[in-house]
């Protein structure tokens, strides 16, 4: 039984995460192998890969967990693979455009927001909730785009991984474990992708130092906390605003889905604060908004994001725990863990 559960977790968590990492990471590896002069086209392709990494992980996990779904889907939450698929296509197309970050943000969020407003309708929805979904996609997209413009690619991937991990835990607390597992697969994909990009960036920095040892260069502190000859050179493939806005839009839709099917003690504020956690990264880096150099590195920003998400998750878990305890004793063991044979 334990072997079967381990294989199941491998299928729904690690294989989809690996698919996302491959899609997002191969492009960055190819960029690292190219000479600096030939990089422009491959950077653009790698940015498309980064935009697709999280959606691919989600879609793979959904397929493994739930199987293919029809159209129209039999259950409302089965619209998610379609919504995420459309988001991936829009995010990838807009990522490939040579447009200012605010144009990318606007295109992605208006298109995805409008489609979500019309087609992503969960139980107990009403026109206000649908307008709210549109508004939250636009606002969260702006926030995440601003973060992507300011922070290094490692930081964006790490913060996104933390946010999606937080959403996944909230979904499990809301008694929606199957979606929680899928979202955690996305978080794993983003986390591993971030680490891989970090390693490649470090190697790039080392290569640049080794290549030009005689020339005095301006040593600056890169956004990732890496000291390298020139900040831009360390960053092989920066996230596009479109990719970050796509992640934000997917996060908003998943959070609303978790809220709509909530059978736990997770409050709307919990979802909102977790989604907005990267905002705190901007708070500690206000000058970046004006285009100045970052004053804190990836560890500080991701760390702050992690603290916020952890605080929210602990708060939500403590509310669930206190209510469960009041309801009654030993009978209230974790049913999902119990079904998986982990608690007994």
């Amino acid at each position: 039984m334990l072997t079967e559960v381990a294989l199941y977790l491998l299928k729904v968590l690690l294989v989809p995460a690996l698919a996302g990492v491959v899609v997002g990471g191969v492009g960055v590896m190819l960029v690292a192998r190219r000479a600096e002069a030939d990089r422009e086209q491959s950077v653009r392709r790698a940015q498309i890969g980064q935009a697709l990494a999280a959606p691919i992980a989600f879609l793979a996990s959904f397929l493994m967990e739930t199987g293919p779904v029809g159209l129209p889907p039999a259950e409302r939450w089965h619209v998610l693979p379609y919504a995420v698929g459309v988001a991936a296509i829009v995010g990838a197309i807009v990522s490939s455009m040579r447009a200012a970050w605010w144009v990318q943000w606007l295109i992605v969020t208006v298109i995805l927001g409008a489609l979500a407003w019309k087609f992503v309708v969960f139980p107990a929805s009403n026109p206000y909730i649908q307008v709210g979904l549109f508004g939250s996609i636009v606002l969260m997209g702006l926030l995440w785009s601003a973060v992507a413009r300011d922070a290094c690619s490692v930081g964006v991937a790490m913060m996104a991984a933390i946010v999606f991990a937080g959403l996944g835990v909230l979904m499990i607390l809301a008694n929606f474990a199957s979606l929680g597992v899928m979202v955690i697969a996305v978080a794993i994909a983003l986390g591993v992708l971030g680490m891989a990009i970090g390693v490649l960036n470090l190697r790039e920095a080392a290569r640049l130092r080794a290549a030009a040892p005689a020339q005095p260069v301006a040593v600056e502190q890169a956004p990732g906390g890496v000291t390298c000859p020139a900040e831009a050179a360390c960053e092989l493939v920066p996230w596009t605003a479109a990719a970050a806005a796509t992640l934000a839009a997917i996060g908003c839709v998943l959070a609303l889905c978790g809220h709509a099917y909530n059978y736990g003690e997770v409050r709307p504020m919990h979802w909102a604060v977790v989604l907005a956690a990267p905002f705190f990264a901007l708070l500690v880096c206000k000058p970046c908004l004006r285009g100045a150099k970052p004053i804190v590195g990836v560890a500080w920003r991701a760390g702050l994001c992690l603290v916020v998400v952890l605080a929210v998750v602990i708060n939500a878990a403590s509310q669930s725990g206190s209510d469960g305890g009041a309801a009654g004793g030993a009978a209230d063991s974790d049913p999902m863990a119990d079904m998986l044979g982990e608690s007994k």
Partner: protein
């Protein structure tokens, strides 16, 4: 050219979204049966004394039992047992009761019953064949998780007594279904063998005449 594409995307896509029809229609609500008053000669189910028990194998080991309280609906049955009982029974999933509030919430969630979209389980008999005296095999439609399928239910009249409003009739019905037939697949293969596919339902019904309001 690029600006043109961007601008047209901004205008056309939201318009397309707004012009198209909503993807969703309201879920079939079997609770509508409840709204219909019992016809002449029909008895109304007493929700206090009508419940459904469900049994499912857990981790290939024990048989786990849960219940859904307060069934509602109606029964039409001639007391002389000359015809099969015609049963309309509705279980509201908000009344699920396993003895664990957490497990109740888990079962109501989208991983299992998806109570927010499919709030009821309904059975409507369409005919029956006699097995022995006061023992019938009923055929009918079972609506569960948004899927309606024909089922065959073994039904025994457990007794006819007297209640404050007139005669009171009791039934005990049993049926075994495959939940995968109704789109409820969690735990059968994914994760493997966490829960069985077969679910045995034992339904206890008590029906009497409804008081005139």
């Amino acid at each position: 050219m690029r600006t043109l594409i961007v601008a047209s995307s901004l205008i056309v896509l939201p318009l397309l979204a707004a012009a198209s029809r909503p993807m969703w229609s309201a879920p079939a609500n079997a609770a509508a049966v409840l709204a219909q008053p019992a016809a002449a000669g029909e008895l109304t189910l007493d929700p206090v004394h009508s419940m459904a028990l469900f049994r499912i194998q857990h981790l290939e080991a024990g048989q786990f039992w849960g219940r859904i309280n307060a069934l509602s609906g109606s029964v039409a049955w001639p007391m002389d047992d000359s015809a099969a009982p015609m049963i309309k029974a509705v279980a509201e999933l908000k009344n699920i009761d396993t003895g664990s509030e957490k497990l109740d919430n888990n079962l109501k969630g989208p991983t299992f019953f998806n109570e927010k979209e499919f709030p009821t389980i309904a059975f409507t008999s369409t005919g029956g064949t006699r097995v022995t005296e006061r023992h019938w095999t009923l055929t009918g439609d079972l609506s569960l998780h948004g899927v309606t399928k024909p089922v065959t239910v073994d039904c025994v009249v457990t007794g006819v007594g007297k209640g404050p409003t007139g005669p009171k009739v009791g039934f005990e019905c049993q049926v075994t279904i495959k939940r995968s037939d109704f789109g409820m697949t969690w735990g059968i293969q994914k994760p493997p063998k966490a829960l069985g596919d077969e679910v045995r339902l034992v339904i206890g019904l008590e029906a009497d005449e409804t008081k005139a309001e």
